[in-house]
Amino acid sequence: MQDLGIRVLFEGNNFARLMGGLGITIQISLLSVLLSIVLGVLFGVFMTLKNPVTRAISRVYLDFIRIMPQLVLLFIVYFGLTRMFGINLSGEVSAVIVFVLWGTAEMGDLVRGALISIPIHQYESSYALGISKKQTYLYIIIPQTLRRLIPLAINLTTRMIKTTSLIVLIGVVEVLKVGQQIIEANRYTAPDAALWIYGTIFFLYFLTCWPISKLAGYLEKKWKN
């Protein structure tokens, strides 16, 4: 037991490999978040439409995505599409598709909430000044919507980063998978490496998400009306 397993972390290029895995995690998360924000804004506006058909469509979509565990969605896209239609997607692409489907639903709901939270009086008192519809959105509605939205969107980003750990199960070599590989490779020489490797991964996730989460809290406080 003299060997604490920490040695494994610094052996060869293990630490660099972990960082590389984290890079994949962040890459997939960021790409998904960016696409989700763009599509989510559109979906959010779509959800505020009064038309009953668009309402039904968005309701079904939102509920379906929320009820489904992300892991099931990942399996459907990664394995299901291959079996059913012969579409072979890489794990990374499947992951981005699923996270964008999920993120668009969540982001859309946030956008919808932020839009309807602006009281009708804000529109009316702007129109009463002779301000045009376009200017009302530009100077009054959108700035207030963004102030409500940005902290929530940042929180969604941290949730997405954490949830990407699931993609290990469709064979994407991200930070968690790299960790598992290192542990497996050293199972006989350093059986205690698991604690150190997973502990390091814990800190990597923490160091990634904590500043983001702090930023959200700061902005939320700053923009509180």
Binding site: P119, Q122, S125, L129, G130, Y139, W223
Partner: protein, 250 residues
């Protein structure tokens, strides 16, 4: 004095199956005149004001401001609304802007005036309502009465020809009502044309050149404040005023 605002036979219904809110309202407001509209809740007095600046569509009748007809399909509301200042019950300042930015927004973006030209005007108006020291504050840092005074200044910055006040003290704590009414009173003395909807009877009596009493979407009685309050002609006006005198004897 010439007629500034002329309303003829105005008819308004929110939807086809509901009772009409305005059933043929006709009135004129002369330049410099202060008309106070009173009446029980739901009588259509707020709706009337909202129709005048186009926040509510009307089904029939006409509204004209000076020579411009406002009830055409082609009405350019953006230019009309600059001539009609409106202040609402819920002081709707823009929460993400300072007091100064709130009152400069209209002149800057609608009238395209230069910032350095309008800042002195803005500061002069803020001084008049006693809020110059709050110009860099955000609305959340102000009391209800202060917000409402800023809302009045914001409307005045557009140099309107007529001001509409829609129950502007109804959402205020009692001790803040006075500071807002004082501002309106001062405007009246300065010759501003105004239509005021209010439940403050003492104020109505003091500020009005003419009282319009509305009930069920109609103007039931109209007259100078002295004779209206001491000797109302219609039964409905008598009943309405009784409620207030009863409250004041409590």
């Amino acid at each position: 004095m010439k007629d500034l605002l002329t309303i003829q036979d105005l008819f308004k219904q929110y939807n086809k199956n509901s009772d009409p809110v305005l059933k043929g309202i006709s009135l004129t407001v002369k330049e410099g005149e202060v008309v106070v509209v009173i009446g029980p809740s739901g009588c259509g007095k707020s709706t009337l004001l909202r129709c005048i600046n186009g926040l509510e569509p009307v089904q029939n009748g006409s509204i004209s401001l000076d020579t411009q007809v406002l009830t055409d399909k082609t009405t350019d509301w953006q230019s009309i609304r600059q001539k009609i200042g409106m202040v609402f019950q819920s002081y709707d300042l823009f929460p993400h802007m300072t007091v100064l930015d709130n009152i400069l927004l209209g002149p800057l973006k609608v009238q395209k005036r230069k910032k350095q030209d309008i800042i002195p005007e803005a500061e002069a108006l803020l001084t008049r309502v006693g809020l110059l020291d709050k110009k860099d504050s955000y609305p959340r840092e102000l009391s209800g009465g202060q917000k409402q005074r800023v809302a009045i200044v914001r409307a005045l910055m557009m140099k309107p020809e007529i001001m509409l006040f829609d129950e502007v003290t109804a959402a205020l704590d009692p001790e803040m009502v006075r500071e807002v009414l004082d501002v309106i009173m001062e405007l009246a003395k300065g010759g501003m044309t105004m239509m005021i909807v209010t439940h403050e009877m003492q104020f109505a009596k003091a500020v009005a050149d003419r009282i319009l009493f509305m009930d069920h979407g109609e103007i039931v009685e109209s007259g100078d404040p002295e004779s209206f309050f001491t000797n109302p002609q219609t039964e409905r006006a008598k009943q309405f005023l009784n409620i207030f005198s009863y409250e004041s004897t409590q």
